[in-house]
Amino acid sequence: MSMPLPTNSASHDELPHPYRIAVQTILDEPTPDVDLARLVPAHVTCKVVPSSRRRFFTHVCGMSLAGAAAVLLVASLFTLRPPDAWAQVVKSVRKQAWVRMHATSPDKSAQAEVWLSPAKRIGASRYPGGAFFLELDQHKLQRYDRTANTIYIAEPGQTELDNFIALDAVLDAFANRQEQGQSKAKDVKLVGQSSMKGGEGNDRWTDYVLDYEDARRFPLKFRRVFRVPEAAELPTTMTEEWSMDGKTASRSFRMDYPTTGPVDLYALDVPKDAKVVDTRSGEELKTLLATYAKEQAAALEPYSATVLVTVDDFKYLTDAYQVRCDGKSISVEAVDGERLSDLNSRIASGDVRKPEGADPIQWWKEEVGKLGFRALESRSGTYIPNQVNYPLLGLPNDNARATLNPKPFVGPGECQMLTIDDASIGDRRFWLDAARGSMVVRWEYESPERKPGDWIETTIVDTAEKSPKGHWYPTQVRRGQVERSGEDLRPVAGVAPVPTQVFRYLIEFE
């Protein structure tokens, strides 16, 4: 089965799937260590008074996405609340019906435009590969893919909002993948501000210089310079500058302020005959969730498995498990850690050698089979094969908002990306492979405590096979952390904050 089966399954086995796991989780929680003697007073003469111990609570932010987006829109353009001349510039820009930014690639071969209307709360972009049209009040994002001649309509995810608003759409237009990132706008920090006057011939201007650190980008630091001509209040150019490998690079955007702007996506050179795919929390998402739930609950035939875990390509083994499923319950045993450590030491010293030409996986399987195992109480973990390719989505959950992206920018190709935004659990992204039973082939997790610069927990299903009854299960999985969404896990220990673990599942069906 795809869910963790409880030790004493007689009672809560009868509950619906997610609640079965909830009960098992509660039963698995260690009981707090409480000094009972302190709780039972020697003399009882007073009324019970609640402890003055402060109770901590988390508060789920009720800010609506649209509200947040509006804040971001303004914040990303003009982050400051300045008391000086820059304040007047910001104020003047905000009064404009439209702000248009226009850029040309260095070889003049590609152009991109970004339109922003603070008053209408609309953002739009046109670039060589397609176009965006974002209506914040409508909570609607339309993206046109020129190659597929298709318009995808979606609820804007936080990442898309951030990327778009932070002008990454423009960056994408020039296919500068290094600068693509997916994170929160809060990752962008203004670390410096200055201004300087300049001139050439009769022209005079003021450059307002803003220095940023953006945890989503590489390089981390960059500068934006807004140039405002003398006697004017509106910037006419915005130049971004950054250094990489000791070289300074820059690109400039011309800025102007038209009185009218695009009224819809089609005003951005999108053909009227483009195919339209609406992915907003509608039928596609419902169908996907229903299919996924069905596959997740499907029983995997009785099997026994040896699960090998390594961080150095099976030179040594960090863990091994034996998992047995009789179709109703699962039992898990973990290898004797001391004996495994001893075996690793003897390999390191040369006392034990793998036979020349032997399959290392089979060799390890035989060797760990000779070591002792101890029963584990836990029935949930990466060592249970089909909990990995059909992980819990965390539903039902009132705090969660699920969105579907049928053609994500990053991650495995030909997969749909299910994003679940959740203030309490954290944000998660799942790439589902419709051709393989809607199993998850990659998932990423950002905890609510994630700070700018923290890496992203990532699990990747490298290979999978079908059981005799046609259910997909993984045969190799990697788990670790990546710096940016969509990146591959790095095999070299010491690069990422945690080493990448490789799990091999050697499954034999009965």
Binding site: G381, P391, G394, N397, G426
Partner: protein
């Protein structure tokens, strides 16, 4: 035992400790003539009821996740999802009528039999079964609604 029963309903060590204290004080304050056949079951019942009361009082607030020890090979995502599911269940139990909530907690958290629950709550085993059936139906409805994206 009392702390554990309270903790399973509340998911918060500080609250569980306070409930345990209340239970002990309540027992100590009771008349010596109180007729209790099974003190273990009786204390668990009191712990469950006092915890449900407390859970209802704080239902509008979201407690911090339990500081549980990570299970072997459990990813941070797994941990987070399981904690959330547990909190979701606790919240849902707090919204149930008294009898249903108590029967659920005693059955699934304290793993008592229907007969023992009936004996403890002084109701019939049929009433226990009916309460459990109602709770399960509500849980299934919640899952169904979630699967519709509602």
């Amino acid at each position: 035992m009392v702390v554990q029963a309270a903790f399973r309903v509340l998911g918060n060590a500080a609250d569980a400790e306070e409930v345990a204290q209340e239970v002990f004080l309540e027992v100590i304050s009771q008349s010596a003539s109180t007729n209790v056949r099974n003190w273990g079951a009786y204390l668990r019942k009191l712990a469950v009821f006092r915890s449900l009361d407390r859970n209802r009082q704080r239902r509008v607030e979201v407690p911090l996740p339990v500081d549980g020890l990570p299970s072997a090979a459990l990813s941070p995502h797994d941990e987070a999802v399981r904690r959330e599911l547990a909190e979701h269940l606790r919240s849902l139990i707090a919204s149930l009528p008294d009898r249903e909530a108590a029967v659920f907690a005693l059955r699934y958290f304290e793993q008592m039999s229907n007969v023992d629950i009936a004996d403890l709550l002084q109701i019939s085993t049929g009433a226990v079964a009916a309460a459990l059936h109602k709770v399960r139906s509500k849980l299934e409805a919640a899952v169904f609604q979630a699967s519709l994206g509602e």
